[in-house]
């Protein structure tokens, strides 16, 4: 059981217009009782950091469909670290299996692929938040 209302930021980082998936994820998290702050398309690491600060987010979810995850994922974790924000970052979308390890090593909390079920999405985000809480 969660001991508080989770607030999750969802965004598309950079030039990537495929937002069907992230909208489905927003709905899945909402129906799991979370508050989803949806930032939409063409966000920058700076705009996501600002939103995370202002919204006091518990987690950030990025959707990636432009093969830029190995560049943008680490950029996002760097930006969060630089801002002193200890907020778990979950990446979803099209990420080849062999890239997952590199992303995790760069500080990404979890990666969700196209086959992930609604339950998996919810449990992954919840687990990332409670792991941070206990750290």
């Amino acid at each position: 059981m969660r001991n508080r209302q989770y607030r999750v930021i969802l965004a598309k980082l950079g030039l990537d217009g495929h937002d069907r998936g992230i909208k489905v994820v927003a709905r899945i998290l909402r129906d799991a009782g979370m508050e989803v702050i949806y930032l939409g398309l063409r966000q920058t690491t700076g705009s996501i950091v600002a939103a995370a600060e202002e919204e006091d987010a518990d987690a950030i979810g990025l959707s990636m469909h432009n093969a830029g995850h190995l560049t943008l994922g680490p950029k996002m974790t760097d930006a969060l670290q630089e801002a002193g924000l200890d907020i778990p970052l979950v990446i979803g979308g099209i990420v080849p299996d062999e890239d997952v390890e590199e992303l995790i090593n760069s500080g990404v909390a979890a990666v969700l692929g196209p086959g992930a079920s609604a339950e998996e999405v919810v449990s992954t985000v919840s687990a990332a938040i409670s792991a941070r809480d206990q750290a």
Partner: protein, 324 residues
Amino acid sequence: MNSSQEPIPQLFKSALSGERRSLGKLLTIIERGGETADTVAGLAHQKAGSAHVVGVTGAPGSGKSTLTGRLIDLFSKTGYKTAVLAVDPSSPLTGGAILGDRIRMDDLAGEDCFIRSMATRGHSGGLALAVPAAIQIFDAVGYNPVIIETVGVGQVEVDVAGTADTTVVVVTPGMGDAVQANKAGLLEVADIFVVNKADRPGANDARRDLELMLDLGHVSGLEEKTGYRPPIIMANSLEGTGSEETLKAIKGHAEHLKKSGSIKIRQKQRILMEIQNRIEILIGSNAKEVLETDLGIANIEAVLNRVISPAEAAKLIVNSILND
């Protein structure tokens, strides 16, 4: 819980010095409610009192957030630091919410503004306390104006908007005829009307219906009493037309409030409503406990035996609590 580990006075101090993260955390504490929230609201109250509070309200999809985004931009160009509290509904079934107002307030990177999304969290009582407390804290750390954006349905939302210093009601073409415009409710609390999406058919009809409604206020004598007639602004927030006029109208209304002395009345009304809400919540949260005491049990028994009515029982219980 991570975000409540830092002591409140320390968080408050760093929020005062402009640390956005701390302000974000304080707002979370306020949202959760309870004693800690009251402490934060109390600290903020001491420092607050100078921000102009603007309520922006209207039906879902009428363009409130887009207009608000435009206003932030214009305010910041004239040297104002705007804070926005964007309230969206929580799902009554799951408690979840999709807070999507920020998406319409894009392109504000680097500007000195602070946007916070707030879900209604199912219980109107909580919102009624959280919103004024959030206003206080934005005010305390130096944001001015503070814009509260709410969907104009439900009593709390109308109350919240209605107790702002300046209430902007956003309508769109096709909202109904003159009879709709004369119904009591949201339109009554407007200090400024924005007919948004004014490029669409029916915009002039909407304007005419609003004018007519305001004219009737002239007939009934309402206009003389306030000495103010709400302006109607035709806007297309997506393109940005009408935003400057809206900004001017807000400043004009603020000026009117100051000159006429109504600003003091509005502030008093807001405080009155907050105290009243707090009393209701304090008493309400004790209602269940009282029923389990001897006093409660005796009265329940009396109602069961048809000696007194439920209304009489409630009065007897409340009176004996108040006399304690």
